[in-house]
Every structure is written in structure tokens, then in C-alpha cells.
């Protein structure tokens, strides 16, 4: 009859964005969870948000503060958009004030936390609270003699709250992001469940992460997940790799905006695919993106373009020179251009803002031009996490995504970006310069197309006032991909005309 026989433990969704994904549903219901972190890691916000999210869902909460006074705390939380004073009035939020006394305290003999236990119990009973946050036990312990003797008292409190049916969150300070779980060894007395918040410097950039160290007898995602603290929202966890890519693949084709390229890809890109566009500077990446967007708008798709490298004006001007009017598309409501400055914030924050923009606009097509701008300002690990997050975000929304990557050398070569994200992409298009008897030509190759036959020849293309104009395959030239170009006999090229572009070939991955 036990409800835990299948390993599933009843959960209480915290309502903290992203956290419930890595917690496989939320905190163990009716239990105590310890949230450990160094000073400034976001513990108090986490504890307060646990209550705030509950209150928004119609629950009630009790906040026990040992550090800041209730007045200070309410004032600080107002910056995050939480009106604690109003919640206090309505009875949704109750403080138990345990902030330090102004008067001096002497200790004569043994004591316990009996009064605290009674006050907490009363607050929970009176308000009907289902959520309790205690912040932080260290602030209490550090002002008492022999704190280790009080750990058993915490266990008493935690047990009493469990009997009241409350789900409890206790914060504890750590001295080191990668040291012992908490000072005074509190965790063994309080919690079967431990969550760690970290705030580290990595490559001179601040990186906040959350890790579920243990949930006794319950499933959870392992490892550190980046989070950010946003105004009006509080903590937002980016589950990234925890997001599953289990969506069914779409077989619906969408136009690349270039008729001949649609033919080369066996009918166009797939509706929910991620297309990586790689090429050296000036090979036509932004042009291909422009066609992708224009093709979308022509088909009535909502398109969103994140511009990391060029300003809005530049993009509009470029598109115009290729015969596409971005401004008119924006006026029609089918295009939104969002310029982004890669240096402005950490990658996690970029991803978050992109997510909000996508959630709000609900586009069918998203283009990111270019990823290389991001790669330059971050660590490889963060970059890969960003790509995972972006990919799953697009897949979840069944959005066609085109991302561009700048190859470092003019002829041939792969960018670092490509190397690290190619497995995440469904389609890879290569744009290359091809040196041919003193002329520099441009070539395009569909390198990979998951789940579809595609043409496997490198096609020459030119750029004019209508944009990309696809030409013949480079039949007699080899070494284009590696950049070591050799040419066959010129006659071979003469023999080719009339035969037309190569047929479609299935290429093994």
C-alpha cells in the first residue's frame, strides 16, 4: 500500500522556474530540504521565492528569519516584485522574527529551542501554512555557545513540521563553494534532502549554479545547472541538458526561401529542425539567413531574428540590397528583429532572455546570427550548455532554427562552434570560397540532413539583387572542404553543361 514502492516520492512543485524540472517535480512533500550556499549565493531569495511561488498558487507560508529583520527582508524582497506586506495582511505570509536581539544576552547553563518550536508550530497552525522557510540556521547558531549541541533541536523542529504536513526549506551557510555541505554539520540532523547553490568566478565571469546533492529515495537530475536572479522573477534555473529531446520529429517541409536549395534538400528543411550554417566571413551566411526569414514570411510564418553581430539598420540595409524588405515584414507582424550585445551579460542570461522573447512572440522560425559572437565571450562548457538549452527550447516549440557560425579561415576549416554543436543540429550547410583559376567563387554544400536524402555536390552560387542564385556543381574541383583546392582538366567542366545539377543522394552520418 505504500505510495513510495515505485520509488516515486510525492513532490511539492516549488514554482521556482526551471527548478522543478531538475527536481523531477519539486521538493519532497512534507519533508525538510537543506539549501546550502556561500554568502551571496542566493539562499534567502530561494527561501523567500519558495513561499512566494506557493502563495501565488493559493498556498500559505511561514518565514522564520534569523538574520534580517522582517522589515528589512520585506524591503529587499520588494525589489523582486514580491509585496510581502500585502501577503502578511491577507494572512498568506507569516513571519517568525528570530533576528538578533538588540540587548545583550548572557548564558547561564543549558538551554534549548523550545520557544522557537512553539512559535513556529503556532504560526503554521494559525495560518494553515503548507510551506515553511527557515533562513538561516547559521545566523542563529553563530550567536549561541556550543552550537553543535543544538543540532538535535533542529531535528525536533523538522519532525514537528513534518507532523504538521508542512514542506520545509532550511538554509545554511557554507564557507566554500566546494567544501563541506554546511557549517556545524547541520545537514545530517535536518535533512534527507540537500540542495547546493554556488556562486563562482569562471573565466572572470560570475556563474551561479544549483545542484541537488541528494533527495533521499527520490529521483532528481544530477550535476550543476546554471541559474540567474532576474528582477520581477527571482531565481530562474536553466535546466538545459535536463530538458529531454523526445519530441517526435516533424516530416513537414518548410522552404529555405531559395527554390533550388529546397530541391537540393529534398523539399526544404524540416519544420522542427536545427540548421547550422557554417562559413568564413563574407561567404553568404547572413544572406542565407535573410532568405530563410523571407521564405518564412512569404509562407505566413512568424520569424524571429536574433542579431548578435550586426545592427538592425545594417540587417535591414543588407536585406534590401538582396530584394527583401525587412521593415515591411516587421510591420506585417511576421518578423521581429532583436539585436543582442554578446558582451552585455552571461550566456545563461542571454538564453533566458531569448526564451522569454520566444515565449512571448511564439515564432515558427528563429535565426541566430551568429553564434561565433557568443563563443568568443564565454567558456566552452557554458557555450555548449547554451546550445543545448537553445536547441531544446526550439525543439519544444517545434520551431525551425537556423544558427550561423563563422569559420576562422577563408578557405576550408571548421570553427570551434561547429565542432561542439554539430551533433545537436539536424542539418548542416557549408558555405565556402572556392578559388578557381584566379577567381574567387562561392560554393554551397548540404553536408548533412538528418532523415532526408539530399544533394551531395558542392554548388557554385552568385549573389545579385535577388539574393542567392544557385549555379552548377563544381565538378572538376576537389579539396574545397579542406581548403587544398586542385582542379581537374578544364574539358571535364566543358562536358558537364546540360546535365544539370547532381541528383539526390542519401548520405550516411
Amino acid at each position: 500500500m505504500s505510495e513510495t514502492t515505485n520509488g516515486a516520492f510525492p513532490r511539492l512543485p516549488t514554482g521556482i522556474e526551471g527548478f522543478d524540472v531538475i527536481a523531477e517535480g519539486g521538493l519532497p512533500r512534507g519533508r525538510t530540504t537543506l539549501v546550502g550556499g556561500t554568502a551571496g549565493s542566493g539562499k534567502t531569495i530561494f527561501a523567500a521565492q519558495f513561499l512566494a511561488a506557493g502563495i501565488r498558487a493559493g498556498e500559505r507560508g511561514v518565514f522564520i528569519t534569523f538574520e534580517e529583520s522582517p522589515a528589512e527582508l520585506s524591503r529587499n524582497l520588494a525589489c523582486l516584485g514580491w509585496d510581502v506586506a500585502a501577503w502578511e495582511k491577507s494572512g498568506a505570509w507569516t513571519y517568525v522574527d528570530g533576528s538578533p536581539d538588540e540587548e545583550s544576552t548572557d548564558v547561564v547553563g543549558e538551554f534549548d529551542l523550545g520557544a522557537l518550536l512553539v512559535r513556529i508550530t503556532r504560526a503554521v497552525r494559525q495560518s494553515g501554512a503548507t510551506r515553511v522557510s527557515i533562513d538561516s540556521v547559521n545566523a542563529l547558531f553563530s550567536r549561541l555557545p556550543h552550537p553543535e549541541k543544538l543540532r538535535g533541536e533542529l531535528y525536533r523542529i523538522s519532525r514537528a513540521l513534518r507532523e504538521l504536513g508542512a514542506t520545509t526549506l532550511v538554509t545554511a551557510e557554507r564557507l566554500d563553494d566546494y567544501g563541506e555541505v554546511s557549517r556545524f554539520g547541520i545537514e545530517e540532523f535536518v535533512a534527507d534532502n540537500v540542495v547546493l547553490l554556488r556562486n563562482t568566478l569562471q573565466d572572470e565571469r560570475r556563474r551561479r549554479t544549483v545542484e541537488i546533492l541528494k533527495f533521499r529515495g527520490a529521483e532528481h537530475q544530477r550535476g550543476e545547472f546554471p541559474f540567474t536572479i532576474a528582477s520581477e522573477k527571482g531565481i530562474v534555473v536553466l535546466p538545459l541538458s535536463a530538458m529531454t529531446l523526445t519530441q517526435r520529429s516533424s516530416t513537414t517541409r518548410i522552404s529555405s526561401g531559395i527554390a533550388e536549395l529546397d530541391r537540393m534538400t529534398g523539399g526544404g528543411y524540416f519544420r522542427d529542425s536545427i540548421i547550422l550554417l557554417s562559413g568564413a566571413t563574407g561567404t553568404g551566411k547572413t544572406l542565407t539567413v535573410t532568405h530563410f526569414v523571407a521564405g518564412g514570411v512569404a509562407a505566413g510564418d512568424r520569424c524571429m531574428l536574433f542579431a548578435f553581430e550586426e545592427s538592425r539598420e545594417q540587417l535591414v540595409r543588407n536585406a534590401k540590397s538582396w530584394g527583401h524588405d525587412f521593415e515591411a515584414m516587421e510591420r506585417s507582424g511576421l518578423l521581429r528583429i532583436i539585436p543582442v550585445y554578446p558582451h552585455a551579460m552571461p550566456l545563461e542570461d542571454h538564453l533566458l532572455r531569448m526564451r522569454w522573447a520566444i515565449d512571448e512572440y511564439r515564432p515558427q522560425r528563429v535565426a541566430v546570427d551568429s553564434l561565433s559572437a557568443l563563443e568568443r565571450v564565454t567558456s566552452l562548457r557554458s557555450f555548449r550548455e547554451f546550445m543545448l538549452g537553445l536547441t531544446s527550447l526550439l525543439k519544444h516549440g517545434e520551431i525551425a532554427g537556423m544558427v550561423t557560425s563563422t569559420a576562422p579561415s577563408i578557405l576550408g576549416g571548421h570553427s570551434i562552434t561547429e565542432k561542439h554543436i554539430s551533433t545537436l543540429t539536424d542539418t548542416i550547410l557549408l558555405l565556402r570560397y572556392v578559388e578557381s583559376y584566379g577567381d574567387l567563387k562561392r560554393g554551397l554544400l548540404v553536408l548533412k540532413m538528418r532523415g532526408s536524402p539530399h544533394e551531395a555536390t558542392i554548388r557554385e552560387f552568385t549573389i545579385d539583387a535577388q539574393g542567392m542564385r544557385m549555379g552548377e556543381p563544381f565538378r572538376a574541383t576537389s579539396g574545397i572542404l579542406s581548403g587544398n583546392i586542385t582542379h581537374g582538366r578544364a574539358e571535364d567542366e566543358e562536358e558537364a553543361p546540360g546535365e544539370g545539377p547532381g541528383g539526390l543522394t542519401e548520405v550516411e552520418e
Binding site: V96, D97, G98, S99, D101, E103, S104, T105, D106, V107, V108, G109, E110, F111, D112, L113, G114, A115, L116, L117, V118, R119, T121, R122, L140, L144
Partner: protein, 99 residues
């Protein structure tokens, strides 16, 4: 001058009993000031513990004279309790020792 004290205890425990005994001693002429003491069981009057922001039990609170002072613990060492409250104990009781 009258010294006013409140003792907060949680239930009937050895600690509570020890603290109650010390407070009874204080109020019963154990020190050289007139002491009025009240004992509050937090389980029965939790709202008073809230108002005085009491966390630990036993807690002895000196309300008068200002500024307030707190002594926590079982209060077994009476001399130290008296000292913490700014009262003198032993001297006084010896002077008045009936012969």
C-alpha cells in the same frame, strides 16, 4: 527600586524547574533589590514569546530597569544570574542572615 522579570519556560522539564527555582529565589529576597517575577510557559502563551521575540528556553528577561537584558539557560548558577541582571546576591543575604 523594583526589578521586573519575566521567565519564559517550555513545559515542565528539568531545565524549567531549575530556572523557576532561581527566579523564586530572586523574588523571595535572594538579592538586595525588590524583584517582581512572572513565569510564562510558551506552550500556553505563545503570543507573548512572539512579542518578546523569545527563541530559547529558559529565557529570563529583565524588563525594568531599562535597558532590557536577557539571560538564557537553566539559571543553575545563581550568583552568575544575579550578576548578569546587575543585582548583588550573596553579600545581601549574608547581612540579613538571622542569627
Amino acid at each position: 527600586m523594583t526589578v521586573r522579570l519575566v521567565l519564559y519556560v517550555a513545559g515542565d522539564t528539568p531545565r524549567s524547574r531549575s530556572a523557576r527555582a532561581t527566579v523564586a529565589w530572586l523574588a523571595g529576597g535572594g538579592v538586595d533589590e525588590h524583584v517582581e517575577a512572572q513565569v510564562v510557559d510558551v506552550a500556553e502563551e505563545p503570543e507573548r514569546a512572539d512579542a518578546d521575540r523569545v527563541l530559547l528556553t529558559p529565557t529570563l528577561l529583565r524588563l525594568v530597569p531599562a535597558p532590557p537584558r536577557r539571560v538564557v539557560g537553566d539559571l543553575g548558577d545563581r550568583a552568575r544570574v544575579a550578576e548578569a541582571l546587575g543585582l548583588s546576591a550573596v553579600q545581601h543575604s549574608r547581612n540579613h542572615d538571622p542569627r
